[in-house]
Amino acid sequence: MSLMDWIDERIHLKELIKGQLTEYYVPEEINLWYSLGGLALFIFIVQVLTGILLLVYYIPHTDFAYDSIQRIMTQVPYGWLIRLVHAVGATMMIAAVTLHMVSVLFMGSYKKPRELHWMSGFLLMLLTLGIALSGYLLPWSQLSYWGTTVATNAAGTVPWIGPELNRFLRGQEIVGGPTLSRFYAMHVALIPATMVLLVALHLFLIRRTGISDPPGR
């Protein structure tokens, strides 16, 4: 008896796989745009995997961050590959999420009963931008440093709470060690964990309502 049969006999897994995967039917007229959410999820998984690998050599400290990245790029076998997949993947993920949102918008897939899908998706897009912004500071390069200075300055222009928000993000008056620490915590723990939960909700909602019919049907 195969392992699969052993498992199936106990928890009836095959029936679930059949109903949810191999024999899950979708509208016939479905088009390429419908693949973008899945693409974004795939890139997210790649980011999590390469991100965990980067953690092996990355040192989140202002004295060591830059050199640890140089070491990944020049000394660690295939370090350049892991890092560039992560860096390029970040841009690709934003592209995928944005195009996904645009397609949902112009096909009208957000309409009743799928408003919750849109709201959870909107939060996921914000978090994607947030994780990319926080990751960008981690190499502690000139580009990272000044990019973050500008981005946190932008937060400082929010009416009323702006200056306080700016200080809260930076952990002090200017971008420095405390900023690196909080961006690091956001980048590798807070945001990805929140995203996993929201993706689970997003997928659950999609399965509950079924996928939308393309327009004109």
Partner: protein
Amino acid sequence: MGEGRSEQEILLESRRKFLGQCLAVLGATALGGALYPVVQYLRPLEADKAARKVEVDLGEIPMGTAKTILYRGLPTLVINATEGVVAISAVCTHLGCIVKWQEERKMLFCPCHAARFALDGRVLGGPAPAPLEVHPVTVAGGKVMLGA
């Protein structure tokens, strides 16, 4: 099932199976290709297996004392003894603890199960089954050189 099926159905099913197998082979190849760099990335760095050639300043080791350094990535004692400078592995041959140089007793002592070794690596007592490895050194210009 079986008799009731048309030729068309049987053909479709065997094609489905064949395509599935092709997909499995492709998938396994892609997975292998992706896994190879990951394994290489995670392997301990050769460069960190460290210095095959080490230089120690004799000035850092007053007469009668010893200094623990890393030689080929392993703890090694450089001892400035009256008999001359000795470099000897500090990894106990019993269960691998790090042995210490005892200045007064002029021997190496393992804190784990009390194995004792002489300056030439010989076992003087305790559970150690084999002598410690002594590395040849050259002393020149106030420097001790290992593994030239």
